[in-house]
Symmetry: C2
Subunit: 223 residues, 2 copies
Amino acid sequence: MYRILLVEDDANLASAMKTQIENWGNDVHLISDFKDIMPEFNEYDPHLVLLDIMLPFYNGYHWCETIRKGSNVPIIFLSSASDNMNIVMAMNMGGDDFIPKPVDPMVLTAKIQAVLRRNYEIKASISEIEFDGASLNLNDSTVSFNGQKIELTKNEFRILRVLLENKGKIVSRDSLMTALWQDDCYVEENTLTVNVARLRKKMEDLGLNDLIVTKPRAGYIIS
Amino acid sequence: MYRILLVEDDANLASAMKTQIENWGNDVHLISDFKDIMPEFNEYDPHLVLLDIMLPFYNGYHWCETIRKGSNVPIIFLSSASDNMNIVMAMNMGGDDFIPKPVDPMVLTAKIQAVLRRNYEIKASISEIEFDGASLNLNDSTVSFNGQKIELTKNEFRILRVLLENKGKIVSRDSLMTALWQDDCYVEENTLTVNVARLRKKMEDLGLNDLIVTKPRAGYIIS
DNA sequence: CGAACTTGTGACAGTTTTGTCACAAAACCA
DNA sequence: TGGTTTTGTGACAAAACTGTCACAAGTTCG
């Protein structure tokens, strides 16, 4: 059962789509206030957003942009203006797919299922971050390099992940501290240093030398 | 830099697409043997597959099915037959998107970027499994319920994940054993029992009673 | 019912992980 | 250069995690 937020001003179409999607076991919430959809979005916390482009007050692109500021929820656009320019625009705004109107019920179902499947079912199995010929497996916290594989502890994993997610950028020690021990408990500054050292040790054992570089007074970086 | 596998028999189109995609910094591998694309697929280990539907020997659906047996790599279909039935078919086969021919270079780029972004960039931030009002966070191995949050150990996390990924189905103790300690080391049968008990204890502390149900001589289930 | 088998429990010890400390090394800056 | 600040290191003890054991409780099936 997925929560699907439907933002569509054509009442007839919206109601038909709602029924269609609910039919195979989902909860659909229909937006009625197009002036500010965000309260309902935040309240409903949907797994997927179906977003019409032509809306009263603000258009779909505007809402996509707003949603993306605080969420990576999958978004599928709906529009009768289904020229290539609109499709490109929709994808570049952070959209996941584009369904042209008139909406074919079969296509609607198939595309929703594809996006949900990709995001909530099989996503775990391909999640790894590659770097410098090595790869960090996000599922079992292992690093593979040159055919070798080692396990990381929770702290080591978090540090490496944050650094890789910001590859090429300096990550301040403060950011890392917050990422590892968010406010709920106090730990010394030095604890981070020690944990970085432990991670470095393991990386060197693997053959990955000078991976994490210290930028004095700034932080650490993997470039 | 992503590795993109292009399976397309129209040499002119293929070459144009290859150039187009390489232009914004990717590696593209063009398939030349349509009789069996799997050796090249396995060798190249792509981040994304662009798969024409009409091919010599076997069609794109066949290869999608074959690939999906061993991989969840994102697949985008290409076809000049872009009627709704083909789109539905493509999505239901495990495809991630569908690009109609003639291929518009902008659309091609936008759709590839959207799929790559979704799978390799922002995936981590929405990975959680929801169940019975609770949710398992796949990134930091925590379970949240009723505003409370607890951390799971590696073993507890793995058991819960496997059970949730097979929600409603009985998971045999053997499957769980393999998932936790794949062949590399021998552990007793009872070790699993103990680990399940430890997970159950934590779930009950959270207020989730009778979550994991024992099916004697069959396995465990979360229904 | 009762024996055989499967699953659950509490306790224990070995290992791993983790935070801290004291001190060393390096970088910064006047 | 020399003092100050920042970062790194090895050692240590506390805490967490894990596998095993002995035994208890539950289930199956003749």
